[in-house]
Symmetry: C2
Subunit: 285 residues, 2 copies
């Protein structure tokens, strides 16, 4: 099982590069920047979620790999464009794409990765399911983009309610955490589980972001970045704010874990595991 | 025929908006900017090429409309991002998206239009053809992005050969002029005509760009923008440069016209007509 997974992870990386290079003739610049960005892969959480759900549901390995590559390409497109917009000069311990290659190239690289996500999907083995897969990919992608747009708009007009915070985070984080599992279910002919997957992933994304916020209060205060602790500090004493965010985070992560474990054939068990790990971390801190 | 076409043009506009709004809940910002950009539609040349080729080849009208919307969404995504990169503050007589809504929103709007192109395609009536349609859309999109990347890289390192100029222009202009006709042929089960369509569209795109260059020598010199006349002026006297570009443009446009007219069922006649109009303009000037 572990060995199969390692092979699959390697195949996902290969497919991501192949999709980005589609029909490439010359232009060393763009492709070099894509290779640079993808070389430091991060944890590939979304790829793992797709491969795990795909294996649980009995998808052909090549199809699960395609779904995983699709979601990772979308995620990386959003990272490259977000870093550009946020002027974040470091990504995964190295200069981010815009810092290394310039802003113009970074914009092109994000576009190329975004289109490549759809390119990777084109080889899916059952074309009859492509319309629904495509619709789902576009819907979640639009969700991510609108989330980013709302967050940027929030720079000028501070976010003052937890409901609005959660809505932004649902786009920013949850959408692409839900997508790998949703796609695996569509590919298995089980699209009806969509709402439950979304609810689990939405809760996980919000809980995950809150844990992140607890770690980053200082930096986020400096950069005027959206942060649940800072938001609550405008409404109650700072100690209470931290404590409330911890409780909220825990509730969201437990919700994610419980819901994910009700998905069939153990297909949500990896999402549940990620949630439980974060709960443990909250208890340790 | 004209009446049917008018209805179809309206349907293309509707579908473009619907795809961009997919699943939209709140975020007025992004959607408002999309509406703003799409409201001044330009000539919709690529949409017309898709609808014309589709009608010639007997496609269902709804499918031709989907192909048209896909290509126009891609084209408009590239306009929004190009304006941002080129700091072009006017588009179609009004402030461009970044000038009206800010750079962050413009980046998001381009991303949203790009993903929406694939979203529009998801409703195509024959899923069995979706893999090939998707591959073709991604390949041409990657072509456009690489062309833009190469042009931007050329700012620092001047382009000194016509071959390199044509390569850049093929990505920048020809790719999305070829795509509407290529998609119509794939949708009609006639993908084998692809190389001929590409050659006609490539020639048209290069000829079109050269006509544009002849008009814009002054502005392009000021902005250090790629221009065939300026390129040749580094190799021969200015008068000769203009004359050579006119002759090159004419040869390309005539090639486009002749090749387009060999496509079956009159499917290339609109591309041929556009080419001939530009030749007439060259003769008048």
């Amino acid at each position: 099982m572990q060995l199969i997974a390692d092979v699959a992870h390697h195949e996902v990386e290969q497919l991501m590069l192949a999709a980005a290079e589609a029909g490439a003739a010359v232009d060393a610049v763009g492709i070099a920047a894509v290779r640079y960005h993808l070389a430091e892969g991060g944890q590939r959480v979304r790829s793992r979620l797709a491969l795990h759900a795909g294996a649980s549901l009995g998808l052909e390995s090549a199809d699960a790999v395609r779904l995983a590559a699709t979601v990772e390409l979308l995620h990386n497109a959003s990272l490259v464009h977000d870093d550009l917009q946020d002027q974040e000069s470091v990504r995964r311990g190295r200069p981010s794409v815009w810092a290394a290659f310039g802003k113009d190239v970074a914009l092109c690289v994000g576009d190329l990765l975004l289109s490549s996500a759809y390119g990777a999907l084109s080889g899916f083995s059952r074309p009859a399911l492509l319309p629904e897969l495509l619709r789902c990919v576009h819907q979640r992608t639009a969700h991510v983009i609108r989330g980013q747009c709302a967050e940027l708009a929030g720079r000028d007009r501070p976010v003052t309610s937890l409901a609005e915070y959660e809505q932004i985070v649902a786009g920013k984080s949850s959408a692409l955490l839900s997508l790998p599992v949703e796609l695996a279910f569509i590919a298995a002919g089980e699209a009806a589980w969509g709402p439950r997957i979304w609810e689990a992933a939405r809760s996980f994304g919000v809980g995950y972001q809150m844990v992140d916020d607890l770690d980053d209060v200082g930096a986020d205060a400096e950069n005027h970045t959206l942060n649940a602790v800072l938001l609550l500090e405008t409404l109650c004493p700072a100690d209470d704010a931290r404590s409330l965010v911890r409780r909220q985070a825990r509730a969201h992560l437990e919700t994610a874990s419980v819901l994910a474990l009700t998905l069939p054939a153990g297909s949500g068990s990896l999402l549940a595991e990620y949630s439980s790990r974060l709960v443990l971390r909250l208890q340790r801190d």
